[in-house]
Every structure is written in C-alpha cells, then in structure tokens.
C-alpha cells in the first residue's frame, strides 16, 4: 500500500507539472488581451509599457519565464529545503496569488461541502426508493425529476431560483441574502449565521449531482438486488429492511465513493457557474475574473489548485476504497 501511495504521489507531481506547463503555454501564447496594456491603461507611453513588462518579467523568453515560475512554485529549495509554494503575483490585483486563493478557499469549501451534504441527503434516499419501488409511481416521479435536474444547466437553474425564492427579487421571498454572499467565507467561523443564507446555492449546486447520484445508485442497487447472495439472504428469512440496507445498499453504494471524491475535488477547484450566479467570492469566481482580465499568474494558480484537489482526492478515494471493499488490493 505504501509503495502504491508513493508511486501515486510521484505521478501527481508529474501531472501537476504538465498542467502548469500547458496552462502557462495556453495563456501566454494564445490570443488574449495583453496584460501589460491592460495594466498600463489607454494613455500609457511605450516607455511605461516597457517598464511594466520588465517589472513583471514579461520581457523574458517564454521558457525563462516558466522556469522562474516553477522555481517559485516548487515547495523545495536547494539551499533552504522546504518552503511554502509561491504562486506568483497578480498583475491586475496587485496582491500575491497565494493570498487571493487562501482568501477565497473557505467560501468555495463551504459551498462545495454544504452542497455535497445536500446532494447526498437527497440523492441516496431517492436512489434507494426508486430501486425498491421500481416501475411504480415513486420511481417514475423520482427519475423524471432527476432527468429534469440533470438537464437544467446550473446557471439557468440559479437564475430561476433567484427570481423565485431570493429575499430581494424573488416571487416567494424566502431565502435571506440570496443574490450576494460576501460573507460566505465566514461560514466556518459563524455557521449558524451564514448557513441559512447558503441554502439556495447549495440546493442549486446539489440539484444535478443529487439526480446523477440517485440514478447511479438506483442502477447499482437494482443490479445488486438480483445477485445470488441477496436471494440467499431473503431465503434465510432476513427482514427486507436488513436485506436492502446490509446486503444491497452496502454493496451498491461503494462506487459512489469514487465519484464523490472526484466531484468534490472538482468543486473545491471552484464551482465557477454557481459562484458567478450567486456572487460567491470563491476560487471559481476568482478564476473567472482573472480569465476576463488576462491575469496569467492568478489563472495558473487557480488551475493548479483545482488540479491538485482533483488528483489528491482521487488518491484519497482509492485508498479509502481499499478499506471499504476488501476485494481491492494494491
């Protein structure tokens, strides 16, 4: 197991290196706005532009710029050993990228974790009920609803939810503070104050995930319930509830752990659409804003953070999977 984890960690570094290079290449070479011109303003002289270009090292050759970036990013130093990674300095916001990401991380984490709880609370029971009531009205309603939730784009669902339920512009004004969430980041400090304002984005974020999980669990559970060992359990006279939960759901739910890890990793990298619609100052919105402003260091920082979360949680999931399913060995 230890060898496996070490190997995966090394692969993780390789993947992050590759992603950092591709991001650097894409935003340096593809046609986007010139960050120097954006920072310099419309009446800037050529000398001022050259000065800004020099200040941010943008006058250096491409590979030299990348080498400098990488040297700062890698958390090791030949002289001093371990050092905190430096994601660079934002051209547009005049602040270090790391400070921006750390500032935004609590908001994104609060949104993602809260959303995850909601979609698990909805998706798992709906999946189980659908499977055990297969073909009946409950199943049809649940799967029909799931189809709608999967088909509805998050940004559309978010806007509709705002118009229907937000406190200031909604038809049925029930969700206080909906429309702007400057304090989302303080969810972990004052959960009882902030959490109620987050119900609407949590529900919107969770809608499609809950639907996917419900369908996924339903399919798995139907398959498992047709297995021989389930028939044996029933034949032994076990109560139906025990058959379903101890033998059926326990097996059917294991693959959910895999996709849950990946989904959470993706969301921790920034739920761009949800954050944009609800004005949640998280990593996703930071990425969106920095792409609009061609703020390369911030774009790189958010992409690498997103990639890190996905790869790290994938690894965690694989390790957890081995504990959940004794058949899995590395």
């Amino acid at each position: 197991m230890l060898t496996y984890i070490v190997r995966r960690l090394l692969w993780m570094l390789v993947v992050l290196l590759l992603i950092s290079f591709l991001t650097f290449l894409m935003f340096s070479k593809l046609p986007s706005a010139d960050p120097v011109s954006l920072r310099a303003g419309r009446n800037a002289t050529p000398e001022l532009r050259a000065s800004i270009r020099h200040t941010f090292g943008l006058d250096k050759p491409f590979f030299e710029q990348y080498r400098i970036y990488l040297a700062k990013l890698v958390p090791f130093d030949a002289h001093s050993g371990f050092k905190p990674p430096d994601f660079g300095y934002s051209y547009q916001n005049n602040v270090s990228v790391k400070a921006q990401i750390l500032d935004r991380l609590p908001a994104t984490a609060g949104l993602a974790l809260g959303g995850m709880v909601v979609w698990l609370l909805i998706g798992i029971p709906v999946g189980i009920i659908s499977a055990i009531r297969r073909g009946r009205i409950e199943d049809r309603v649940a799967m029909g609803g799931a189809l709608v939730a999967i088909s509805a784009p998050v940004y559309w669902l978010g806007l509709v939810a705002l118009y229907l339920f937000s406190k200031d512009i909604g038809v049925i004004q029930i969700f206080d503070g909906a429309g702007s969430y400057p304090n989302t980041g303080s969810l972990f400090n004052s959960p009882f104050t902030v959490a109620p304002t987050l119900f609407l984005p949590w529900l919107v974020l969770a809608a499609s995930f809950a639907a996917i999980y419900a369908r996924f669990l339903r399919g798995n559970l139907l398959e498992v319930m047709a297995e021989d060992y389930v028939r044996t359990a029933r034949a032994k006279g076990l109560p139906e509830r025990t058959v379903i939960f101890r033998h059926g759901v326990r097996s059917a739910i294991t693959p959910i752990v895999t996709i849950l890890g990946l989904d959470l990793g993706i969301l921790l990298g920034g739920a761009i659409l949800t954050e944009s619609v609800f004005n949640i100052p998280g990593i996703g919105r930071l990425a969106f804003d920095s792409i609009q402003k061609s703020d390369l260091p911030t774009i790189q920082g958010t992409v690498i953070m997103g990639a890190f979360f996905i790869i790290a949680l994938n690894l965690v999931v694989d390790v957890v999977y081995a504990f959940l399913d004794p058949r899995v060995r590395y």
């Binding site: 046609p31 002289t45 200040t55 500032d103 512009i169 400057p182 619609v277 100052p281 919105r285 609009q292």
Partner: protein, 597 residues
C-alpha cells in the same frame, strides 16, 4: 379522440395567454419623464444611514497615483480630494478642492500658481495637515517606474524636468515647486498651461504624505495602494498601521467616516455614515433587479441591460437618472488600408450607415443621442460645432441622415471610382479582398458590430469578421497598428477631463499614433489637422480655444475617418429609499452627495 376538442380549446387558451403575456411585456415604451442629471439641482439630503453599492468588478487601484477607471473614481473621489473637482450640478467648471482658489496662469502660458487650502488633514495613521510638499510628492511619484501612471506623461509631461521615461525611484522634478507650505507652482517647458490646468482635476493631484508613503513606494510595484492615507470625508477602514483592512480585493470595500475630515474645508455634505461596496455582481440583470426592488442599494460599475433599462424607464422612473457620459462611440476605418485610404470611400460608408439601427442595439433613444462628429456634449467646442443640430454644411451631406442615405453613398462611391477605386456602375465596391474587422464578443457591443458589418456589406465590402474580448480588441488588435485591422466597429473615447484637446489629440493627431495602446484607431495622419491641433492646444482656455477645436472637429468629420454614432448617456439606478445624486464628471453616483430618503 373524444377529448380532441378539449385539447384544442386548451391549446387555444394557452396561445391566448401567451399573446396576453407578450402584449403585457411590450405594451409600454413610454420612457418620457426619466430624470436627467444635466442641470440637476443638488437636493438636501438626510444625515446618517448607509447604502450598499452593487458592482460587478473591483476598483482598479485605491492609490490616487495609479487610479484610472470610472469605478475607481467613484470610490477615489469620495475618500480623497484633488486640487480641483466638479460639483454634481456643474460638470464643465471645476471648483477648488484642496486648492483654495482658481489657478493663476502666467501670460506666457508656461507657469501655473495654485494657492492651497488650510485645515485639510490626512486620515489616521498620518493625522497631519496637508501641505504643498504632499502635492509635490504625489505629482512626482507618478513619474516613477514603481507607480505606473498611464496619463502622467501625456498630460503633465510638459512640467520642467518631468522624466520622459519611468524613473528609478521617486524623481526630483524642478518644475514642481513649493515656495511656501500653501503655494504650489508648476513651471512648464511649453505654453500648455491651459491643458495642464484643466488636468488638475485628475486623481494624481490628490496629496500623498512622503514620510509615510516612501517605504511603500520603494517597492516595485508600490504597495501604497493598500496603505493609502485619505483626505476626503470617507476613508477605507484601516488598522493602526494604515493597512486597508476594509478592502478585500474583488469582494468588498468598507467606507467609514474619516475622523480628520473637517466639513468647513469642503463643499461635500457627506450625508451617509457608511458605504458598503459589494462586488462580484457579474450578472447585471440580477444586480439591476436587486437595486430596483431592494433597499439602500445603488449601482456601482456596469449598467442595467436593455430589458431592465426599459423596465426602469417605465415602471421605476424615479429610480433612474440619465447622465451625459461625455463620450463618443464610433466605427473606425483604417485610413492606412485600401480602400479606406480614399476619403470618398469613407464618406460613402458614413453616408450609408444606419446610425439609428446602431443605437437600437444598445437600447434606443434612452441610451443617448445620435452622433455625427467626435467632440461630445458637455465638452467645450461641442456647441460651437453645432450642438445637437444636424449638419447644414453641404460638404457634410454624408452625415446628415441618421438612418443612412444610399443616394449620397452612391455619389461618393462613384467619386471614388473616378480616383481609381474598383467600384461598380451602381456604386458598390468591386474589390475582392476581405477586410479584417475586429469586433467585441459580448453584447451589446457584439450586436452593434453585427449591424455595422451589415452597413459595410450594403456597399459591397467583404469582411473577415472576427470576435474577441473587448480587452483584446484594444490591446491586441485595434490599438496595435501592426495588426492591420481595417475596421474597428466597437471603439469610443470618453472624457478624462473637460477639455476638447483630450478628445481630439490622442484620437486624430497623426503624431499621436503609437505602436501599442494606440488610440488614434483610424490612424488618421493629415498634416493640416495635426498642425491645427498643435496650434489650438496652446491657446488659453476660452472662446477662441473652443472655437478652434470645434473647427478641427468639423474638419476631421469631413475626412470621415470613422463613423460616429452615439453620444452616450449613462443610466444610473437606485433603490426607492435612496436619494442618489449623479456625478456628471465620472458618470457614476456621487457618494459624497447621495443620502438615504
């Protein structure tokens, strides 16, 4: 089958309902009675309370030496005071702010003397009175590489000893002098005191205390941006060391009262006790609806989208104000690229243009007046060139019809044919080349560009139409002559200060063409125009100068380097319980005059 009639009836009822809803949605287009900020009287406000500003983005900088963005000005001019500024009821004549009186200009136009007000103090942690040395330092630091300022060289480069290139460290500029703590003297190398005096409203004249700012300015880039010392009625919440704790980049700004502000030294009433800025409201529809339906909210950057604006103009008239933006939008044709190097081709394009259709893409008459030349309303020279009246000069017949005039267009195309341009007998362009057209990829600019492309196609031009972001449009294409863009349908120029030179010089003077960040988008380089601009620039403020620029404006229009189509009005919205006062200079809400109802 027996239920078919019922289904038909239900379907009919559904369509009837749909028609009713559609009719309700389009029933009213009556936008009369909407308030305009032009000539507004400043209302008495209620002391106390607070408002929240909803904005999509953040300010560019808090540092007055770097600030150069409308929304930055909205905050910047409520927390800091320049030498001169504009009251909300007069956008053409600045009043002394940190200055105590009008600037005294020497007869040779090479020296400006400004007396400073006493009793103005910096906010904590500086806590001392503003002196001449603080303005001197503020105006010197913007020539440093550590404090990149986009307009310092352009507007203040004639000050004696001002560096031509960004200096290492803070330069000592001999042309900025302080004979005593309350007198500032600017010595110029050229007789351009009128332009420099007009530019003293710019934020780089806001005082900066050297002893406090120097350590921050020693860094490249300067970190004074997050440690500003304030002189206005409000300040960004800070800690004992001056760190701006109330500014969370791209998230929020907390403005509180500046305890060192003395009302007797200022014309601003500053009714509100606190101002919150809530950023990230990227969906303008949601943000606008929140403002109109909500409480204690006003608009920051951005503008209501056309459907919400229409709704505001009919249902929320008292919550909408239209502010003349002091800007002109136009479609630029590259005069260095064939066939637009021919003046008659350009006049034909101008003639065919349906400028009314262009305006409809942004929302119709409510968004502004149809333009036919380049200096906009509210800027000296506008009235002298004819005001809002259509042109009467026969040589400007191509600009007379806002809906476009095919007959006039044909006349000019046939004239171009005589000069060797490939044109068919019915006045259509016969060249085969595809003209590179760079348009913005976001509405409403995208729609305007599509309508503009259609106007060119009416005359037979073939376009290579490409869409990019608005930023890339300026920084990679239209602002870079090397990019060889033939048509830029989404360009425009808005005022920096109230002087016609700032509209004409960077945009149509051939000597101002730059390899990057170029704002002479048509690349017009006409020796007689260049000479006239240079001559008018050194005239003293007054009738002669205004008339000179008005004539230049008309002369440029006759060369048709671009098709002007809109003199913008900026719509500002507020909640019903807010008494907003528009700032005609920055075309945003004036936070120091706005109050709760």
């Amino acid at each position: 089958m027996t239920r078919t009639p019922q289904r038909v009836a239900m379907l009919a009822a559904f369509f009837a309902l749909a028609l009713f809803v559609a009719a309700c949605g389009s029933s009213s287009n009556n936008t009369s009675g909407v308030k305009s900020s032009a000539g507004q009287k400043i209302p008495q406000g209620k002391q106390g309370g607070d408002v929240t500003v909803l904005s999509a983005g953040d300010v560019d900088y808090m540092d007055p030496g770097q600030m150069y963005y409308t929304f930055g000005y909205m905050i910047g001019y409520s927390v800091n005071r320049p030498l001169y500024s504009f009251k909300p009821d007069n956008a053409t004549k600045p009043v002394p702010d940190i200055a105590a009186s009008e600037p005294q200009i020497s007869s040779d136009q090479k020296s400006i003397t400004i007396k400073l007000r006493t009793g103005v103090k910096f906010s904590p942690p500086v806590n001392r009175e503003v002196q001449c040395k603080d303005i001197k330092y503020a105006m010197s630091r913007v020539f440093s590489a550590n404090v990149p300022n986009p307009y310092a060289t352009g507007y203040f480069g004639t000050i004696q000893g001002a560096p031509k290139t960004p200096a290492k460290g803070i330069p000592s500029i001999p042309g900025i002098q302080c004979p005593d703590p309350t007198t500032l003297v600017l010595k110029l190398t050229q007789p351009k005191a009128a332009t420099v005096a007009a530019a003293l409203v710019m934020p780089l004249t806001m005082p900066v205390p050297e002893e406090y700012a120097k350590p921050f300015d020693a860094k490249n880039p300067s970190t004074y941006d997050t440690h500003v010392a304030f002189t206005g009625p409000y300040m960004v919440k800070n800690d004992a060391k001056g760190n701006l704790t109330g500014w969370k980049r791209a998230k929020s700004i907390e403005l509180v009262r500046n305890p060192n502000w003395d009302k007797s030294t200022d014309y601003r009433p500053a009714y509100l006790d606190a101002i919150h800025v809530d950023e990230g409201n990227a969906d303008s529809t949601v943000a606008s609806r929140r403002i109109l339906n909500g409480s204690h909210l006003i608009q920051g950057d951005g503008a209501p989208p056309a459907p919400v604006l229409k709704q505001a103009a009919t249902r929320f008239k008292n919550q909408l104000v239209l502010v003349p933006a002091g800007g002109t939008r136009y479609v630029a044709m590259n005069t260095k690229i064939k066939p637009f190097d021919n003046v008659n081709v350009r006049r034909a394009v101008f003639a065919i243009f349906d400028r009314n259709a262009m305006r409809l893409t942004r929302g119709g008459p409510i968004v502004g007046d149809i333009a036919w030349r380049y200096i906009p309303p509210g800027i000296p020279g506008f009235d002298e060139a004819g005001g809002l009246n259509p042109p009467t000069d026969p040589s400007l017949d191509f600009a007379a019809n806002p809906a476009g005039d095919p007959a006039v267009a044909k006349k000019y195309m046939l004239l171009a044919k005589q000069q060797g341009v490939p044109v068919t007998a019915d006045g259509k362009y016969a060249g085969k080349e595809k003209l590179l057209t760079i348009a913005t990829n976001a509405d409403p600019g995208k729609k305007s560009a599509e309508v503009a492309a259609n106007q060119f196609e009416k005359l037979g031009f073939k376009l290579n139409f490409r869409e990019v972001t608005q930023d890339a449009l300026y920084t990679k294409f239209c602002g870079v002559p090397k990019a060889q863009v033939a048509i830029c349908p989404n360009v425009g120029f808005f005022k920096d200060f109230v002087d016609p030179e700032s509209f004409i010089n960077p945009t149509f003077n051939g000597e101002a063409i730059l390899p990057a960040n170029n704002t002479n988008w048509p690349q017009l380089d006409d020796p007689s125009i260049n000479k006239a601009i240079d001559a008018a620039a050194i005239l003293a403020p007054g009738k002669q100068r205004d008339e000179a620029f008005a004539k230049i404006d008309l002369d440029i229009t006759k060369l048709a380097p671009a098709v002007p189509w809109l003199w913008d009005k900026t719509p500002l919205i507020e909640s019903k319980d807010v008494q907003g006062v528009a700032d005609n200079y920055s075309t945003v809400w004036h936070l120091s005059f706005t109050s709760d109802k």
